[in-house]
Symmetry: C4
Subunit: 211 residues, 4 copies
């Protein structure tokens, strides 16, 4: 039995390393299609010309960062891997690897359809992350011991929340209004209250809220 466990641990380890590499490459390639302006005579001229590109870069960097943190948090609770998890994780990585393309589209066109497609990609990323956790927690039974309630809590808090937050930030940035950020504050406050209620009786979640 120990031999099987060793192999499963090695499998999970390779899957995590591979995912980290893809996240790292995608995040570093975000800037690769950004080129400096050919002629600029002052620092402010540089930033005036580069503003859209740098915003798109920063935003996509945030999207990948948040998804990496969520991925890390979910896989911290996953104890083994199988081929179905590989495939779901590959779907996720396939979407992550499209973000440099999405970012280029965002700064080049920046029109309505471009924004729609970009938000769609980020949403799909969130859905795939949630599916990965859903499979591991509810079907594959490959997570550490936790109650059904906690599995759902992790689904909402770790897998779905980042997508919601990306969407709300995006909403604020595009409409130029603070309502997206207000929405984010409300969602975070609500989750914080639920989290405290949950913690009272369940030390496992306390541990979770720390990572």
């Amino acid at each position: 039995m120990t031999d099987i466990t060793d192999k499963e641990a090695q499998h999970l380890h390779r899957l995590i390393l591979f995912s980290d590499a893809v996240f790292a490459i995608a995040i570093t390639l975000l800037a690769i299609e950004i080129h400096p302006p050919e002629h600029f005579t002052s620092v402010s001229a540089f930033f005036a010309e580069m503003r859209d590109k740098l915003w798109a870069y920063a935003f996509s960097f945030g999207v990948i960062g948040i998804n990496w943190i969520s991925h890390r948090r979910l896989f911290l609770r996953i104890t083994r891997a199988d081929t179905a998890l590989d495939v779901l994780n590959f779907l996720l990585l396939g979407l992550v690897a499209l973000l440099p393309l999405g970012t280029e589209m965002l700064w080049e066109s920046g029109n309505g359809p471009a924004i729609f497609i970009y938000v769609g990609l980020v949403t799909l990323l969130g859905v795939t992350l949630a599916m990965t956790w859903g499979y591991a927690a509810f079907i594959g039974r490959m997570v550490e011991p936790m109650s059904q309630f906690e599995k759902v809590y992790v689904l909402l808090r770790v897998a779905l929340l980042p997508g919601v937050m990306c969407g709300l930030t995006f909403f604020s940035l595009i409409t130029g209004t603070p309502w997206g950020f207000v929405g984010m504050g409300l969602v975070l406050a609500a989750l914080s209250i639920v989290s405290r209620l949950v913690i009272k009786g369940k030390p496992v979640v306390t541990e979770f809220s720390k990572d």
Copy 2:
């Protein structure tokens, strides 16, 4: 003796990490030559123009994904490494690193010769993977204890099957007929039956069929 084993374990570990990095970079670079259309006025116009590129991307992503899963499965059974294994593995990685180029060719030309070259590359990939396993299992004796029968089974199931499946999928996509997918179903069903027959007496293969 433990010292030698330690070094061999470190060798194998570095080889696997290096391979993972090359797979991860190749898979992320698949999309790097894909650029968004300069002008598009609607979401459907975007996808109409990008369709061929996104299909080629998805297909090559699948090819690398399947080969990574096979690579992981084979190396899970390999217990040490030598320089000959390094070289065979480098041949494999050298072909993997050509897939971004092959994918670009596929969407740009998409004609008969392009498809022929692409399928040839994928086939060569499968052959190299099979050679790597063949060397490790039959010549280098660097795999975990298993019967000759199981070594051949792994060769067929893990090293050669992905290539066959890629070919059949490709056949279906290009001819626009379902026969490739039908063929895949038959091959999988046949292997499943063999697998069950094998499992009856051999618990080691049971363990294998799980990973």
Copy 3:
């Protein structure tokens, strides 16, 4: 308690691996926008045309190298990680990933504003590195046991010194005078004296000066 520690160790491990990958990709992409001259008839003609590009490459390679060494030294003293450390580290990586773009700007324009922006980027990198250490050492209390004095020493020596050295090197290269290098010598000599004074009574710092 051991379970929590294990997870925190895994968290830190993934964070370090992820950072290494981003550093490695950024450093390798530095040369990706450098293309050979289309026509050249002699080796000296090649280097005459490539001189600015190769200098910019070498300099940025040094910047990333120094920052990687500092990052390694700081994280050697960090014993666990939390999400705030993730975010600070992501800020750092987001700046590292901009260095290929900064390098391209440096060799293409090479005028005053370009140099100013580049030095600003390197400075920001140093500030973010110092903030990361500051958070880990003074707020998050996630470093190995050391006195407040030593924490400040590490802040100056490991986190801030590289930025100062980059700036002084840059100063020398641009003005074509040796004063930047003289300044570096003086700073290093001063730190060496302080280091010796500190070592007398504190074996922990001795260990540090070795790594």
Copy 4:
């Protein structure tokens, strides 16, 4: 003391991982500037147009592969790391990261000066690898216990031989004569004889010849 050793092991581990990542990225980027011909009507037309590019790719892939194997073999004998080793290793990686550029130059120009510069880069790579081993073995005393004789043997066999072999292969390819390959055979035969003589009395080298 164990704590120091742990840190040194972690330092060495991060250095090796970082090097692997740079090697892997450089090897995968070799093909990134190779684009398929825009129009081709047959498979043979494709290969006729791509021949120079694919040869340059294969050759550089071999160069990086051989250097990675040498790097792995040398670092298998290195037991700890310091900042000077970091710097030497960075010099090596800085040259490795220039190989995609060198490869592009090779296939684009392919004239005398281009070949001279390329061979110079490969030679410099070999010299830096030898310097890294020289520092670790003779100055930093950071290798596993071995006699002076063995240190020199490793210098010749692992660090310098790959450069010699690259040079001879190159000589054969360019002159279109087999003398380079003949030379390689002679060098390998000579080393094999020396190796056998050495093995007789020294089991440590036996172990070495296996890895």
